[in-house]
């Protein structure tokens, strides 16, 4: 019975996401099956959690899941009427099949790990707690929760994408179940691997590079087994997958006639601040990159309107918290020039702490070392605006994360860093894999013949052979 209920919950999420995907793509581009599944899941979790929150302002009890289900099914009907075209398929070679098998084994291990581990500390007390309380209160978070000082430790101000996805499962299951709630996190891992495969192919024109990157995702301990990894019920890994989708779509939107990718980018961009509060920083960076792409591709100013949904979510959530008299977070001092000036002395120790984290092999293995080599590889391609966007999306959030600790209100700000830095860096790690994908394919891309594979034109253009103006004009 539980399995059926879970299938129902996941099915409605995917159906709603697929419906939204078809509306955004408008049959303008072909998306592979892995892309369609990955995008559908991300859009579905975002849409269902937003619908639960918005409808929950007006109704609660049985009516709430009923209304959300009707919207999901309606979106599914839209998706059924206007399917996204699949590109031509080709037979995979033996190396691709081998890598595919490795990835399947890794996914199976990750599901196993997710089930044998409990929810992590934050997974329970920051995220699942909201789903449980909302479920017990007819699908709506109790107003008292936001102002209860005794539960300030659970950060009532955190946004609801993850807890309300868990809530959606609970509403289908008919009970709050910490074990079943864990199932959504390995699915985000699956989505992350699917995106790396698909984007790897789009960036390089070669399926095996995407498969290889997806296979190596498993071998970053911070993503697989460390505190805050993809199995612990934290929002950090899902946020990193949303960010990967955002930046990947923006990279593809840098090509001519890729408005569909720009719409997808805007949709994932809007969801970043809805997944985690830190998503606002990622939103700002990705939005700045989006502005750059709009200007470089000489798109219509109307494209700036696509930043509106994200702004609405940021302002809407802020307004909601104010109206609920939510407690102010106590982890940071007021962000202003005066505080910044008086805490500048923190920057050198913070830089040291960040550098030490990059060398933290038990947590990151050689991942950041590889990223450093990627940067060296891609220096000569900095003139390519899309590569520049990718590098900015990787590097700038790291510096902004470093800067926010300048405003830490913890008695020992370095303890604050030590407790959260690895999870913050994880937000950009999948984008680091995209950068690696480009670096690995760097030499082979000089052969422009390789930008086509299996008869289908990919998102890659032989960047090193084109001027930036041609690239984006």
């Amino acid at each position: 019975m539980s399995a059926l209920a879970l299938l129902g919950a996941f099915g409605t999420l995917l159906v709603a996401g697929y419906g939204l995907l078809t509306l955004l793509v408008r049959q303008k581009i072909g998306l592979s099956l892995t892309e369609q599944i990955a995008f559908s899941w991300l859009l579905g979790t975002g849409a269902v959690s937003l619908l639960l929150w918005i409808f929950g302002l007006f109704v609660h009890g049985m009516l709430l899941p009923g209304l959300v289900s009707i919207v999901c099914l309606s979106l599914g009907f839209v998706g059924w009427r206007r399917t996204v075209p699949l590109p031509l398929r080709r037979t995979p070679n033996s190396f691709e099949i081998f890598l595919g098998i490795i990835i399947v084994i890794e996914i199976a291990i990750l599901f196993y790990l997710s089930f044998v581990h409990t929810l992590g500390w934050d997974g329970l007390l920051n995220w699942e707690i909201k789903a449980r309380y909302a479920f017990a209160n007819g699908g709506v978070l109790p107003a008292t929760y936001f102002s209860d000082s005794g539960r300030a430790f659970s950060h009532p101000e955190y946004p609801l994408a993850i807890p309300f996805t868990e809530l959606w499962l609970y509403l289908w299951l008919g009970e709050a179940n910490q074990f079943c709630a864990k199932t959504i996190f390995p699915i985000f891992y699956v989505v992350g691997t699917f995106l790396l495969v698909a984007l790897g192919k789009r960036l390089t024109g070669r399926t095996w590079i995407g498969l290889l990157m997806a296979a190596f995702l498993f071998f970053v301990p911070q993503i697989t087994v460390e505190v805050g990894s993809a199995i612990g019920g934290y929002a950090d890994f899902p946020l990193s997958v949303f960010y990967l989708a955002t930046i990947g779509c923006l990279f593809c939107a840098g090509e001519p006639k890729s408005d569909a990718f720009f719409r997808l980018y805007a949709a994932f961009l809007a969801l970043l601040p809805w997944v985690k509060r830190d998503g606002v920083i990622l939103w700002a960076v990705a939005a700045a990159c989006g502005v750059f792409v709009i200007l470089r591709t000489k798109r219509s100013p109307l494209f700036f309107l696509e930043f509106l949904p994200g702004l609405l979510i940021i302002c809407g959530w802020h307004f909601y918290l104010s109206s609920m008299h939510a407690l102010q977070p106590a982890d940071f001092l007021p962000v202003n020039l005066e505080t910044f000036g008086s805490h500048l002395y923190r920057i050198p120790p913070l830089l040291s702490a960040f550098l030490a984290e990059f060398y933290n092999h038990p947590t990151w293995s050689l991942f950041w070392f590889v990223v450093a080599i990627d940067l060296a590889y891609l220096l000569h391609r900095m003139g390519d605006p899309r590569v520049l966007v990718l590098l900015v999306a990787l590097i700038v959030p790291i510096f902004l994360y470093l800067l926010i600790y300048v405003f830490s209100s913890w008695p020992s700000y370095l303890d604050h860093v030590g407790l959260s830095i690895s999870r913050l860096l994880m937000h950009v790690a999948p984008v680091g894999f995209l950068v690696t994908t480009l670096a690995v394919s760097c030499r082979s891309e000089k052969n422009s013949a390789r930008v086509r594979e299996g008869g289908a034109v990919t998102c890659v253009t032989a960047g090193s052979e084109r001027t930036p103006v041609v690239e984006l004009a």
Partner: protein, 162 residues
């Protein structure tokens, strides 16, 4: 042929192969130990709370009992939870108990030492449904409460005490 087997291409392939092997060499032991150190936990709806409480107090399946106790109390009154400063176990127990105490409002007190008499004496008992001691000694003037394993005690505040 030249382009396929140039020195640059060979160096490129060797670099990335070397990096891949090194990364696997560093990662696999860590991931293996992380993957094998945990036995399969229960699959119940409260399995994470149960695991936390068992780890901190030794009591099995305590979550359900705690929820029953809290649900039997007047929901309009607060739950007061005492934890010890600089004791991660105590703090963890306190937060887990606060999680389970819904829909009651809770108030967490982090105190130095193990005797909360001073804080208790300042409280209005009419507003309190229960007092929870997380690795803290219950004052002798309070009636004994329900004890969970070692270190967790819930003292409900019945009418006659108030």
């Amino acid at each position: 042929m030249t382009s396929h087997f140039s020195y640059g291409r060979i160096a490129h392939v060797m670099l990335w192969c070397g990096l891949a092997v090194a990364l696997l060499g560093v990662s696999i032991p860590k991931i293996y130990s992380g993957a094998t150190e945990h036995p399969l936990h229960s699959t119940g709806p409260l399995h994470t709370c149960d695991s936390y409480l068992k780890f901190a107090t030794g009591a099995s399946g305590a979550s359900k009992d705690l929820i029953s106790i809290f649900q039997s109390m007047n929901a309009s009154r607060r739950i007061i939870i005492f934890t010890r400063k600089d004791d991660a176990f105590s703090s963890g127990l306190g937060m887990t108990t606060a999680y389970l105490a819904s829909p009651h409002l809770v108030r967490l007190f982090e105190i130095n030492g193990t005797h909360p008499d001073k804080e208790l004496s300042k409280m209005n008992p009419d507003e309190v449904a229960a007092v929870v001691f997380c690795r803290i000694n219950r004052p002798t003037w309070l009636p004994a409460g329900k004890v969970f394993g070692s270190g967790l005690e819930v003292v409900s505040m019945p009418e006659k005490v108030r």
